[in-house]
Every structure is written in structure tokens, then in C-alpha cells.
Subunit: 489 residues, 2 copies
């Protein structure tokens, strides 16, 4: 066999094993007996050990040294394999093991500190994680920017300077929009109880409406919704609370966006480096455009209103317009994951600026809580009451995910760009959404984004699909237009 064929055969087994690891993660959050945690940790460590050994196998370097580049697909496969192999080669094994050890402990220390609302109990651990991740970032960056090297793990090719340019333009207009909205009377929200079984039934129906293929997936409940797996086995989870069916419905649509992306990748890429979503930002663009630009649109919520009345009877919202306003209600809140479309990115930008400062040593861990609270007050206009509502609310930093947060907002920016292009491509989209028909929209996204998998660089995918370089403009126009309408601004 040629070096390329040998390399790809080896890679294919690695991808299959990585799918297994992912499936174990799904099982842990959905099916695993509660007493099996200790054993599962050993099982996960064993498969991760196998994966690590394969990903650092010196034969990969030998194959890469002699491989002859072929067509577009071959070149893209090699780009992914080379990037991954070079990354693992740059990080000393001792450091990789130390990061794995420390972050695995740090997560439970963070959870305890959050439960106790005690940032000081978490600070020493965060310092240790940050120090190790800085060391890793420096090894990866060589002479380049450490934070950019961190970003590259989640959004290949993105740089902080490019992101900051977009985010710095976003922030003031979002702060203004938020303030203007909150001066207006809040629309009526939901009240009462909604049967959880009926929520799940409705959510499964909506998942299918958005093109999620149940023959290659399934929907279960989990504490924190997620999607998992690639190719023909892509599973999503959602959650239910009796008082808030929107949580279940929109968690489902969000995860369907992630899941449909994975399901819709060209089947030729199955179990190759191209057979998964290309970056966190592009992934988030799909989950967000499904959830927000489509799922929370006036047209689609009009249809959803009828479905909810069929499922739950009269639930006290008078008409479609009131329902649209209820779905898009903006209220004060501390928690990123519960935030509406307007405020969500302000939560992310706060974290992005703080973590860049931490990495650059412009901010000390000891000063992080105060810096968080100051920034929160500045953007949101009220004070954080306790660390679990502030600096301790997210798991990310405890497990070393520096450089991850900005991909959330980048995903929203990308979703804005894609949505603008989609509206041009499908001018009568609202007529279809109003019938609960997303086929043209999801078909356009499949054709222009999802099917490519890892074939192109993330930014390139968005540019090709939207016909322009990504910018924050379309997202801002969309948000200002939509919420201006709802709130009469």
C-alpha cells in the first residue's frame, strides 16, 4: 500500500476508537448505573491511553514524511492529521499527563467550590491549571501568541486579534440593545406546569421537523444537554423541567443543530478526519441558527404555538404574537447558559476578555473574582450576588478549556452571516417556517456548510456559504431588527 493508504487505514481505526470513547461519554451521562463511576473512570483512562498512543505513534510521522499529496480530499485529510500529530509532538508527554491529572481533579474541586460559593477554595487549583495550560500554550505557540495557540485547539486558524475586532464592535451595541429592551415592560412569560412526557414527545417531533434522522440518532435526557458522535450514530440529549417547556424544546433544537451537522457530512468522509464538524465555532453556528434564527423566528414560533396548544391545551398565552414575545423574553439573569439571544454574547465576551488577561498575565487569579464582578456590573447593570452566579458558574476553566469560550460568540456571528445569505437564497422562507417546514433552510445549510465536514478551514466554509468575510454586522442587524420589533424600540 502507499503511505497515504497505510496512514488512512491506521487513522480510520483511531477514529473508530475515538467514536467509542465518545459513546462511553454519552453512556455516562444517560444510561450508566450511578454506582459505576469509579470503574468507568478506569475504562475511560484505558481507552484514552490507547488513543494517545495511537495519536503519537511515530509511524504517523514516517508516513507523513513520505506521503505524496493527491487531490483536495487527500490534502485536507493530511492537513488534519499533520496538525494533530504536530500538536501532540510539541507537547511533552510529561506535561500532557500532568494536565490530564490536574484537570481531572480540578473539575470536582470546582464543583465543590461552586456548591460552597467559595472562589478562594478554587483559586489555587485554577492557578495550577492556568499555569499548565500556559506552559502547553507556549510549547504549541513556539514564537507565536500563546492565546492564539490555545484558540487553535477549538477554532483552527482563528486569532485573538481578528476575534477581538469583531467582539469589540459587538459589545457596545449589545449593551445598548439590552439596556433599551429592559426599559420596556417585559412580555408575559409562561406559568403553570407542563407534562414532562409531553415535552419530550413534542421535542422528538420537532427534532424530526429540523431534519434530525432518528435512524442514525436518538434523543435522551441528561442533566446538561449535549450531542455526541459522528457519522451514522449521532445522539443528542435534552432536559425537562415542568415549569419551562422552552428549556426542553430549545435545548433539543440547539442539539439537533449540532447533531444534524454531524449526520449531514458527506458519508464518504465516515471515520476519516473530514467526518466531523470542522470547528467549535462552525458547530455552534449550526446549533444557534437552528435554535435562534429559525427556531425562535416569528414564523416558526407561530407554528410552534399551535403545536404547544395541541400538546398542553390552553396555557395562558393569548396569541402567536404574545407567544413569539414569550419565547424571546429578555430578563435580568446571572447565568450564561440561561441567557437570551441578546445577552448571551455579553456573557461570553466577559469570559473572553478575562481569560485573555489571565493567559497574558495581565490579570492574576486572585483578582479574577473582582474583575468578573466589575465587568458584569458594567455590562449588565447590576451586581453579582454570589460566586456560583458569577465566576464559578462555568466548568470550562477548571478543565483547562482556555480559548473555548469565544467560539460560542464566533458561532453566533457565523450564524448571523449564514442567516443573511439563507434569507437571500430562500426569500419565502417564512412561509415554510410558518408551516413547521424547515426543509429548505436545513437543506441550504446542509448543502453549503454541513456536508463539507472537515474539507475546508472553518472561516473558509463560512465565507464560501455566505459569500463574504465573516463579520459581526449581520448578527447585530438581525438582533436589533428582531428585538426592536418585539419591544417597539
Amino acid at each position: 500500500m502507499s503511505a497515504y493508504a497505510d496512514l488512512m487505514a491506521f487513522q480510520r481505526e483511531t477514529e473508530a476508537l475515538a467514536q467509542i470513547s465518545g459513546r462511553l461519554g454519552w453512556d455516562q451521562e444517560t444510561m450508566m448505573p450511578r454506582g459505576a463511576g469509579g470503574q468507568r473512570a478506569e475504562e475511560m483512562a484505558a481507552i484514552e491511553g490507547v488513543l494517545h498512543a495511537r495519536r503519537t505513534d511515530p509511524r504517523i510521522g514516517e508516513w507523513l514524511a513520505v506521503v505524496v499529496t493527491g487531490g483536495e480530499v487527500e490534502a485536507a485529510n493530511l492537513r488534519h492529521i499533520r496538525r494533530s500529530f504536530e500538536r501532540t509532538s510539541k507537547v511533552p508527554a510529561r506535561l500532557a499527563a500532568e494536565i490530564a491529572r490536574v484537570t481531572s481533579q480540578a473539575q470536582s474541586i470546582w464543583a465543590e467550590a461552586r456548591a460552597a460559593d467559595d472562589f478562594a477554595a478554587f483559586a489555587p487549583t485554577l492557578r495550577e491549571v492556568l499555569s499548565l495550560k500556559r506552559e502547553e500554550g507556549a510549547a504549541l505557540a513556539a514564537d507565536g501568541d500563546v492565546y492564539d495557540a490555545m484558540l487553535d485547539d477549538y477554532e483552527p486558524g482563528a486569532t485573538a486579534s481578528e476575534l477581538s475586532a469583531m467582539f469589540d464592535a459587538l459589545r457596545p451595541r449589545l449593551v445598548d440593545l439590552r439596556a433599551a429592551i429592559l426599559e420596556k415592560p417585559a412580555p408575559q412569560g409562561l406559568s403553570g406546569e407542563f407534562d414532562e412526557g409531553a415535552q419530550m414527545k413534542l421535542s422528538r417531533m420537532i427534532a424530526k421537523v429540523f431534519g434530525y434522522d432518528m435512524a442514525r440518532g436518538r434523543v435522551d435526557k441528561a442533566v446538561h444537554p449535549f450531542s455526541s458522535g459522528s457519522g451514522t450514530d449521532v445522539r443528542i440529549t435534552t432536559r425537562t423541567t415542568p415549569s419551562d417547556p422552552f428549556n426542553c424544546i430549545y435545548s433539543t433544537i440547539h442539539e439537533v443543530g449540532h447533531g444534524a451537522y454531524e449526520q449531514n457530512i458527506d458519508p464518504d468522509y465516515l471515520l476519516t478526519p473530514l467526518g466531523a464538524g470542522v470547528s467549535m465555532g462552525v458547530h455552534e453556528s449550526q446549533s444557534r441558527i437552528y435554535e435562534n434564527q429559525l427556531g425562535r423566528s416569528r414564523a416558526f414560533t407561530g407554528w410552534l404555538y399551535g403545536q404547544m396548544r395541541d400538546a398542553f391545551g390552553d396555557f395562558g398565552i393569548a396569541d402567536e404574537d404574545a407567544f413569539f414575545a414569550a419565547v424571546n423574553r429578555v430578563t435580568n439573569g446571572f447565568i450564561r447558559t440561561e441567557a437570551d439571544e441578546v445577552q448571551y454574547n455579553l456573557h461570553v465576551l466577559l469570559r473572553y476578555d478575562l481569560e485573555r488577561a489571565l493567559v497574558a498575565r495581565d490579570l492574576e487569579v486572585d483578582d479574577l473574582e473582582a474583575a468578573w464582578n466589575d465587568r458584569f456590573a458594567a455590562d449588565f447593570g447590576f451586581a453579582v450576588d454570589k460566586p456560583s452566579n458569577g465566576v464559578l458558574q462555568d466548568v470550562h476553566w477548571s478543565v483547562g478549556l482556555f480559548g473555548y469560550f469565544p467560539t460560542y460568540t464566533l458561532g453566533n456571528v457565523y450564524a448571523g452571516c449564514l442567516h443573511e445569505a439563507l434569507r437571500v437564497a430562500v426569500p419565502d422562507l417564512d412561509d415554510q417556517l410558518a408551516q413547521g417546514d424547515t426543509a429548505r433552510a436545513t437543506g441550504w445549510l446542509c448543502q453549503n456548510v454541513q456536508r463539507h465536514g472537515g474539507l475546508y478551514e472553518p472561516r473558509q466554509v463560512i465565507e464560501m456559504a455566505s459569500g463574504a468575510a465573516p463579520s459581526e454586522g449581520p448578527l447585530l442587524s438581525y438582533l436589533e431588527g428582531k428585538f426592536g420589533g418585539i419591544y417597539g424600540l
Copy 2:
């Protein structure tokens, strides 16, 4: 580290990976989306490849060559590791790969032949599987008996001569007992429909009654019930059909026997060679004594009758005695897996005698169907009507499981021995069973059999627990006594 510590650390990771492989098997039968079969086959092949490489890793041989044997547990661990390593070393890699390839195809060829009721369509494949398994058996046996070498995979230490002595004593008395029963009027069976949700609810309750720990396990539905996993993650499956709640209930109790065995092994043995049931025969002894000697006893069925009336209302069985007879109803049937306690072993002995003849070349595959039908008519008194009710009914031979069938009856023989000793140890057992209390019985089995895991050889476990060499006598006395009572023989 010492060679022993190195070896055990390596082994522990292998055991953890084997647990993962088992969990994937469970997932495939319970949760996997139906469109994921092809991808899953690659995933399974990848993890099996990893396991095969570890199990044949030359370092095991090096460690074994220098290891110093310690206490009882260390010696038992080494015995298991040595046996497994020597086995894999004796079988050429080419042959192992060929067996994997052929048996994986053979299963679907068998399924198609069974669906078409066409033995000739399966015969060439069976010849190929048999030939490969004979070659493997010869490699394993060296100068010994090929069939004994096959047996050793499922029941270490057992020999065909020892099994045949027991089985030849069983067969005529079972044939006579069966004939005598079928001359009597059949007791009333169940009729009507039984809600499947209520069946599952009742089954889960009964699983707990038999000591199955839901914190370290779970009960799901599958087409063919099975148990899966060791240690703190032991999952069982059952099935429901509206007309036959006994199928669900007794499948559950059977799998609970397997599952409780795994759950009750000394936790010190977790992820070591001692941390799983010691053999197929001992495993089956636990599933069968739970299902039959306990679950189908007059005392326990008296309690179950009340539970079923609570769950389903009046279902047309007048009293506890009629219910006991209904649970233990003996009727003509072709299918092993649907057979009652009396006839089940006749089905197994038929397969045992035929497969030994096949392996010994005393019977050609072309003559197998006729041989099956002749033997069936001799033992059961009526003719096989079609291959799917005869020679094509079981998957085992298609996947190369020669030497597996006899462990079913050996398990029943072991269950008979254990039950006799249990009755002596717990003289008032029926008083407890009549209250739906199995704690003394399952506690005795845990103490005397289950907790040992792989510490002792299979036969040794049964001898230590029952206080005598295993023999068919107790099983025969139990069956003749119980069914003689029900049928007034």
C-alpha cells in the same frame, strides 16, 4: 515494579478495555440507532484489534517467565493470564483472523438460511466454520482431545468423558419423565393479554427481590435477553410479549442470576482476571437456580401469584396451586430456548452429541439435518416439521461455538447440586420464598459461589459449595420430585 505488578497493571487496562467492548455489545442490542450497524462493526473491529494485540503482547510472556508466585489470589490471577496467553500463542494469527472473518459472515448466512428454512444454504458455511474450528482445536489440543480443547474455552478443566458420563445418565430418565408427564392432562395455561409496561415494572421489582443492585446495573428490553458487564456495571435485558408475562418474568430472573453473580464477586477482584464469573457452566448454574429452583418453586410462585394479581387483576388462574402448575407447564415444542425444565436438557444433549460427532468426523455436515431429526423424534416422540424448528434454530454453530452447548446442561447439573446443599443449609427456605424473600438463598449463593469470582476452578467451586463432586443425581431427584408432584406421577 515487580513483574507481577507490571503484568497486573497491564492486565487491568486490558480488562477495562474488554469491559468497554462488552458495553458496546450491550448498546448495540438496546440503544444503538438502527442505521449505525456498519459504523459499529468498524468500531467493534477496532476495539477487538486493540484487545487482540494486548492479549498477544510478547511482554506478557516475558512477565510470566520471571514472575514469582505469591499467595492464593496471585496464583489464581497468574493461572488465568497464563491460560489465556498460552491459548492465543497456540493459535496462529492467520487462523484466528480467518475464524473471525468466516464466523462474522456465517452468522448472517445462517440467519438467511433459517428464514428460508433451507439447511442446504447453510451447510457449506457450516462446513467451513467447522473445519476452521477443528484446526483451531487441534492446535490447542496438541496431542490431547480436540473436543476437550474446545470445551476448555467455556468450561476450563471439563472433559467430554466426564460430561458424557453425567449426560448419559440424565438422558433416559428425562425421556421417561417427559413421556410420563405428557400422558397426563396439561394444566391450564395463561390466556389473554398482559400490559407490557406492567410486565416490565413487575420484572424490575422481582429483580430487586432477587438482590440485583440497580445502583450497579439496569434492566432494558432486547430481542434476546442477556446480561453484560462485570463489577460495578452489570446490565441485564429482558423482553415482553403481551400474551406471555412468564417470558418476561423468568427471562428477568434468569439474567438476574447471571448479573447478581457478577455483581457479587469480591470487589477486590474488580478489573482483574478473578473479577468475572469463572465459567459458562457456573454462570448458568446461578441463572438457573435463580430462575428454576427458586423462581419456579411452589413457595415462590405462591408469592408471585399475589403479585401478578396485584399487577394484572384476575387473569383466570384460580389459586396458587393452579398458578404453580401453569408456571411449570410441560408441552410439546421444538425450540430449546422456550423449553421447560424437564425438556430443556434433552434439547442440549441432542446438540452435544451431534457436535461431538461433527468434530470427531463421525458425522458429516451433509448428514446433520437427518441426524438431528432422527434424534429429535427418538427423544421427543414427534417429527421436526422444518429446519427453523430443528437444526437451524440456534446461532451457536454458525459463530463457531462448538463446546458451548454442554455448559447449559452442566449449569443445570451444578444448580441441582447447589440447590440440594442450599436446602440443607437453609431448612426453612420455603417459608421465606413464600414471602417473596430470597435473601437467605441468594446470600448463601453469594457466600459459597459468587463472591469467589475466578479464584477457584469451576468444578472446585461447585464441590466446595455443595460438599460433593458434581453429579446429575440431585438435578434428577429435584425434577422427578417436583414434576411428579405437579402431574401426580
